[in-house]
Each structure stands twice: as C-alpha cells, then as structure tokens.
Amino acid sequence: MSNRMINILVPVISVILGLLVGAIVMAVSGYDPILGYTALWNGIFGDSYAIGETIRQITPYILAGLAVAFAFRTGLFNIGVEGQLIVGWFAAVYVGAAFDLPKVIHLPLSILAGAAAGALWAFLPGLLKAKMKIHEVIVTIMMNYIALHVVNALIKTWSGGGDKTERILDSASLRSDFLASLTDYSRLHYGIIIALMMVVLMWFLLEKTTMGFELKSVGFNENASEYGGMKIGKNIILAMVISGAFAGLAGAMEGLGTFGNMYTRGGFTGIGFDGIAVALLGANTPLGVIFGAVLFGSLKYGALNMPNAAQIPEEIVQIVIALVIFFVACGYAIRLLLSKISKKKEAK
C-alpha cells in the first residue's frame, strides 16, 4: 500500500471507528443506534432547509479548522481558537452595530474588525512564547476564559445590564436573501464564500510565499532556521497572529451572518475546540480542512435532530467527535495494522 493511500485511509478508518463506537455506546445505553443515525442523517440532509443550515454550520468550522491547522503547520498548538473566536464575534458585532456606513465599506470593515480582534487575542500568547518561551498551550487556554468573561462583561456594559447586544445594521450583514430562498429560508449566508476564499489564502500563504516558507521552517527546526538567518520570535508571533485572524473571522461569521448579534454565554461555543478535530482529520492541509469541516459541521448540526426524532441526547455526537480525534491521534496503531494487512496480502 502506498504512503499516500495510508495517509488517506487513517482518517477514514478513524471516522468509521468513531461512528462504530458511538453506535455501541448508544446500544449499551439502551438506545437504538440505527434510529439514532437515521435521525442524524435526516438532520443533515432531510430537506433543503436542513442542508442550508448544515452549510451554515460548516462555515465557522472551516475557519476554526484553518486557524488550528495553520498554527500546527508552523509548529504551534493554538488551543485558544475558542477565545479568539469569541472576541472576533464581539468586535464584528460592535462595528456592525455602532457605525452607520455604506455597505461596501461597512461589511468589509466589520469582518476585518473580527479578524483583527482574533489576531490581537492571539498576539499575546505569541509574544510570550517568542520572548519568554512560555508554552502557548497554557497561555491560550487561559486567554479562552479571559475572552469568555471579558466579552460577557462588555455585553452587559454595552446593553446596560442586559444579556444581548444590539442587532447589527443591514449594511454590515452577511445575510443573503438569494441563498435563504434557495434553502427554504434557512440562515445560510455569504460567509461560506469567505471561508472558501480563506482556504485558498492559507494554501497560497503556506505554499507560494517566502513568508509561508519561513513560518513552516521555524516550525520544523528553530535552530536550523535561525542559522539560515530567519528571525524566530517574529515568525512565532506572525504565525499566532494569522491563526488568530482566521479564528476571529469564524466569530465574525457567527456575528454578521448567523445571529446578527451576541448573547452573554455561560460556557464556550465549542467551535474552537472542534476546530482541533477538523484540522487533525484534515491532516492540517487546506483541502483536508474542508473535508474535516464538512464532516464535523454536518454531524454537529444533524445532532440537534436526535433528541426529537430518536430521544437520544445530542451529546452522543460530541462523543463520536472526541473518539475520532482519539483514533486519529492513535494513527500509529492504524498504520501498523494497515501495513500488516498489506504484507499478508503480498505474501499470498
């Protein structure tokens, strides 16, 4: 079996194993797995409304996946996508609601505000990593909680003690009557186009520019890169900032497209953490991220149909997603198994 084949088979097998174990969990808990997965399937593809909503859900997953994947490619683990997404969401909604400008300026400005906020939130962990060698994992985790509480506090202050912000103006909205009418008035918006553009941008940055080469190089081997004349600190900060900007965009999609405002939250959105799963499943490549996002975004949205249609708690899908990450992480075992199987075939 070729290496390329194995690289594709590992995530596929992981997904199948994840769904299988999910089915076993359902069966053991006294639920009907076939009924459960049928409900899941209908939740995703049942009608044009469901398909529209599924694509809407995929949008932030693509961007969150890109954020994690970009950091991974440059040797960093950005576990703070969740927090960067939250501040991006808030910043986008703020600019979208507080200013009154023509659409050609207002919409791009609001989107950029989201990206900038996410980038800023990732800048600090990058700086601490570059200057003081503090591991980015722990700092970004803390920044997640700071983002959650600070944004909640800001929403309270802005709304005068309420629990939601004002709605954004139409001139800042990503809503699309055309896409909505196409999908039985779902909340599908233009964000998906932006997300796909960002996929191309990430590919271009990493594969076609000197900057991308340097970023990857520093991720591979700091010492060699430094010897080659690259500035390690600058590259680490830059990588975090770009990753954070992707995450901030994911938040902007939620704010400007799906919801049009922001509520105070008791806990995380989960999109940022699922972004890790998306990136891993997609082997941290731009194209792979699309596949990962399509899978996990669909699962996540389809799961909402499970409590109603099959009386199964929707958390079962989160269990499946966690298992898939777990199996992808155990890729070594799957590779070992595959090579043994192919060797046996050759022996025959």
Binding site: V25, S29, F77, I79, L124, L128, M132, K133, I134, H135, V137, I138, V139, I141, M142, M143, Y145, I146, L148, H149, V150, N152, A153, L154, K156, T157, G266, G267, F273, I276, A277, L280, P313, E315, I316, Q318, I319, I321, A322, L323, I325, F326, V328, A329, C330, G331, Y332, A333
Partner: protein
C-alpha cells in the same frame, strides 16, 4: 470591613477552592514527571465531579454521612480507569500527547453530559443531600489571628489535600519508585538500560494522575456546586495544570501555586463584599484568576522547563 476581617473571610474560602486544584495538580506532577504530558486533567476532573455527584445521590441512603467520602473513592477509581485511554494512546500507540489529552477533555465532558441527560432527563443532576462537611478544629481555632483564618470552617478535603501533597513529595523524591519515575521522565533510554520498565512506570504514573484528578473533581463538585452540569468544572483542570507548571513540577510547589489560584478564585466569590474590589464589575472579576495565571507565568516564575523527555513517546532502540 477591616483588613483582618477580610482575611478571616478570604482564607477559608481560598483553601476550600485550593483543595481540588492541589489534588489535580499533584496528578499532573506524577504524569509529567514520568514524561507524559497530561492536558486531559480537565476531562478527568469532569469525570470525577460527575461520578462523585451521581454516587452521592444514589448511595446516600446506604452510607449516610460517609457518602461524600466514599464518593471520592468511586470517582478516583472511575477516573483512573478513564485515564487508561490517555495512557494507551500516548504510551503504547505513540499518539501526540497534547492531542490525546484534548480528546480526553472532550470525551470526559461529552460522556458525563450524555449520562446526565440519560439518567436525569435534563441538563444537570439534582442537588446532593450531603456535601463534604466543614468544621472547626477544636482548640486550634481559639488561637488568635491564625485560628479564625486557618482552623475555622475547614473542609476535611482540604486537610486531605495538604497531606496528599506531602505524601506525593515523599513518594517522588524519597522512594525507589519516585526515583524511577523521575528517571523515566528525564532520560528514558538511560532508565531502560538500568532495567526499568519505562512504559510500565509511565502507565502507573498516568493512572495515578487520573485517580488524583478524579478525587479533585469530586471534591470540587461536592463542596462548591453540589450538583453536576456542563459548567461545573469549567476550567479547574486547566488551572491545576497551570498550578503544576507554576510550581515547577514539584508537589509542594504545585500545592503553593494551587493555594494562590484558590485565593484568586476566592476573590471572585468574596470580592463583591470587599471594599475596593466590589467596584470591579463581576464579569471582570471572573476573568481575574485567569489573568493572574497569565501574569504569574509571564512574570514571577522565570523560565519553566518540564522534565526533559516530556511529550515524547519512548521508542526502544531509537536515539
């Protein structure tokens, strides 16, 4: 309110918040000293918190006043078994330990919420009838100044936590097992050459970390929230991880850092009734422990480097 009164008020709350962090951070010390990064502490704690509450709810009629303590043991066992997943992935299957830890975190919360909905048919459990009790230590609580600060309203779990830290220090630094544990985390090949089973020691260390994080979670849920829901643990495990780094992978250091973070959390609870601090809106106050953590990591500890072999699977024969 005078300064002393604030201290009388703050100290017991700080120590109460520190107890679960101490247990979990100690778990982290064991795992990481053996060379296995365990970012899954949060998920293991969630599992412990969930099992603690469920056991307490279902067995109160059987065990009466002893229920919370037996619930700790149940949570310890279940989380230890749960941590085996992390051990198998990161030791035997050579998975990226951070990624496997993230999977444990997601899985822990998802499984606990799934079971909560299955058993209770709603998003959170009922409240337990019997939480971990607090009491005044007779005699000692009469000492001026220190008495009301340290010996009034003490949770038994807090005393256990401090004892556990000292025991952990003894085990890691004064016993043959501890020496092996540290050797495996610093230079597994050298340890292997001396006849130490690297992977076996690592398995034991990860399971110990699961057990301790389980106790930590069950203490938290049975003293602070008294029920279990999606936001029960909400970052305690990560804070324990920070305490472990802040304490430079040393049990006593981790305990000190955990008490510091306990104090930071107590501020968010007690803060609204303290002058000066009550001027800060509660939202920002909630962010305070995390801000302090970042500041602590950036400012006070200097360079923190973990065990040398941390994060790398040991592959026999490779250099």
């Amino acid at each position: 309110m005078s300064f002393l009164e604030i201290l009388y008020f703050m100290a017991p709350v700080s120590i109460a918040y520190a107890a679960p962090l101490i247990f979990t951070a100690l778990g982290g010390v064991f795992s990481e000293r053996s060379g296995v990064v365990n970012i899954g502490l949060e998920g293991l704690m969630v599992m412990g918190a969930f099992i603690g509450i469920v056991f307490n709810l279902f067995f109160y009629d059987t065990f009466g006043n002893w229920t919370p303590w037996i619930a700790l043991i149940a949570a310890m066992v279940v989380s230890a078994v749960f941590s085996l997943l992390h051990a198998v992935a990161s030791i035997t299957f050579r998975a990226d330990q951070v990624v496997s830890g993230v999977a444990i975190n997601m899985l822990g919360l998802a499984v606990a919420l799934f079971l909560t909905k299955m058993i209770f048919d709603k998003g959170q459990t009922d409240f337990v009838k019997k939480a971990i009790p607090n009491f005044n230590i007779p005699g000692l609580d009469q000492i001026p100044v220190i008495g009301p600060m340290l010996f009034k309203g003490v949770y038994g779990s807090s005393i256990l936590a401090i004892v556990a830290a000292i025991v952990a220090w003894y085990v890691i630094f004064k016993t043959p097992f501890g020496l092996r544990l540290r050797a495996v985390g610093e230079h597994p090949m050298a340890a292997d050459t001396m006849g130490i089973h690297v992977n076996r020691i690592r398995y034991i260390a990860v399971v110990i970390s699961g057990a301790l994080a389980g106790i930590g979670g069950a203490i938290y849920s049975q003293t602070m929230t008294r029920d279990f829901g999606h936001a029960t643990i909400n970052g305690q495990g990560f804070m324990a991880l920070a305490a472990m780094i802040f304490g430079k992978w040393h049990p006593i250091g981790a305990m000190g850092a955990a008490i510091f973070f306990g104090f930071a959390q107590a501020l968010t609870v007690v803060g609204p009734s303290i002058p000066f601090i009550k001027e800060i809106p509660t939202g920002y106050l909630h962010a305070l422990p995390y801000v302090l953590t970042v500041l602590a990591l950036a400012g006070f500890i200097g360079k923190a480097t973990g065990p040398k072999a941390g994060g790398k699977p040991y592959i026999k024969g490779s250099r």
